[in-house]
Symmetry: C2
Subunit: 324 residues, 2 copies
């Protein structure tokens, strides 16, 4: 492989001059520049990316810290992040934190040592110290970190209200909820919106705390149905729980949506492909990933940023688990 010295020899200028050309310095005469560029082309010289990183303290890579890529919400996010990063010449380092604060901290330290240009994170808790004092920008994705950290998110509270209103207007009588885990702000907000709407209508809802995970959801869904056969309207914390609830309801011979209406949250692709297809409060998953990446790269490149907190729209998608 050609080195910077080969380019210097070939073009008859000093290594320092080649370096100036590479860094697009204005101090180089145009004839010299032409000669150097010609040599670079003919020798197929490629400046070493690692050496450039050391010099510029910029690695053209970002870290993506998510709980678990096998949760179907995150592959859609990761795809958007990688597409967008690639468009701007950046690479994405994938990290699964399992929502574990220590694991997250380890990743942040390792990535910081590697001069990544920024971090995209969805983290376990609202106020994690893990992000304090970092020498790189951080953007929170999906899960709001409060005011200190720039974030791209949806209004989960409004989403919960919208689910409640829909089930109420569809004639629901006995309401229930299988929420996500309450230590996640997103899960808590969805739940709060759902209950607040019902309270205004002088209704209550049975509540089961769940996990954003299929295996656990199957158990909770079965429990809800066995303990409360009178329930006719359920809001679930995400689509995975919804898919599990459909399975358990069908096992028990319930007709959907006649006996039981279900509304999920997220809008993952598979929700539209199962039978019955899952009605849901849809987040613009791809756009969340895209906007978060653009915001992070703008911050990393010290561009002027109008807004460091971007709320994306949600909407209700009626499919086959609801009557209207």
């Amino acid at each position: 492989m050609a080195t910077i010295r080969d380019v210097s020899k070939y073009s008859g200028v000093s290594v320092a001059t080649v370096s100036r050309v590479l860094n697009n310095s204005s101090k180089v005469k145009s004839t010299t520049k032409k000669k150097v560029l010609q040599a670079i082309k003919e020798l197929n010289y490629k400046p070493n990316a690692v050496a450039k990183t050391l010099f510029k303290k910029q690695s053209y890579s970002i870290g993506l810290i998510i709980p678990d890529i096998s949760n179907p919400f995150f592959p859609e996010v990761a795809r958007a992040v990688e597409d967008t990063a690639r468009h701007y010449g950046y690479r994405v380092i994938l990290c699964n934190s399992d929502g574990n604060r220590e694991k997250e901290k380890d990743y942040i330290e390792a990535l910081s040592q590697n001069h990544v240009d920024g971090l995209l994170v969805t983290s376990i808790s609202e106020n994690s110290d893990n992000f304090k004092g970092l020498h790189m920008p951080v953007v929170a994705l999906d899960r709001s970190k409060g005011k200190e950290i720039p974030c791209v998110y949806v209004d989960n509270y409004e989403g919960g209200k919208l689910a409640a209103r829909t089930l109420f207007e569809n004639g629901g009588k006995v309401f229930a909820e299988i929420s996500g885990p309450y230590n996640l702000i997103t899960a808590k907000e969805r739940s709060r919106g759902f209950h607040d709407f019902l309270k205004k209508k002088e209704k209550t809802a049975l509540t089961y705390e769940g996990e954003f995970d299929f295996k656990h959801s199957i158990v909770v869904a079965g429990k809800l149905l066995d303990e409360n056969p009178e329930v006719d309207s359920v809001f679930v914390g995400n689509d995975q729980i919804g898919i599990a609830l459909i399975k358990e309801a069908m096992l028990r011979g319930l007709r959907i949506p006649n006996d039981l209406q279900i509304i999920g949250f997220d809008g993952i692709e598979i929700g539209g492909l199962i039978t019955p297809s899952l009605s849901t409060i849809q987040q613009p998953i791809y756009d969340l990933g895209k906007e978060a990446t653009k915001l992070l790269l703008d911050l990393a490149n010290k561009k002027h940023v109008e807004q460091t907190s971007i709320c994306m729209p949600i909407n209700y998608v009626k499919r086959s688990t609801t009557t209207g």
Copy 2:
């Protein structure tokens, strides 16, 4: 942040000596080593990862090139790869090639420039030039690259035969197949095994070429059912196609498995959660990712490797889309 110079000053030895201690050189006296390590600890000095990469030409990262992380097979693979890499102190750079050879080539060049320690790939074609002459190990995952590149895979041909035998023994009369795209060796082999078994039993099967993708599969599945209402046994190239076929069959009022039996391929988690749950030829997805990563890291670290071609077992998982 403390630098190597601070450590040198604090411990009263030269920078070169500190460097020797960091690289665990045997030339340093134990009393000196103790002093330096003490200084490193007290100053909380962390050797810069990028500088270490430049020096050792090792970045403790690997590239994972897959077609598309939003295809549900790959998040399960990616999770295994990242878990295993992390266990050995490596990071994973995620790349979506969309099965596009040019895009794949771009990734390989960029990763090579960054001194990644190796590449894990599932590529579009059997004999891609993209992997020739690389200065790092490559391991093919899922899709065999022929004999030149180490790989971890399953016997797709046997999988296709197993699907055919199962449908035949379940009393199938009119067989059909929606295969994956034939430019993928995996899809071709599954198809070949399926047809070879049936041929021995003097049976034939209608064949539709599909894609490993939900949207396209919905269209092909509908077409197969509309054009051939007499079909009672279908083998599909992967579980995504199977889920699409279930949906289209139910839309047409077919009873599964009485009117139509379906066998998928892969064993992705969602296949077991839908109703009816999808019978399938299961690959050990997590273990494929894990073994491929271990093999790659062994090669990267020039360890002795017994086998550079590892075939993992498949098995038939009976669920609700087959009678036996």
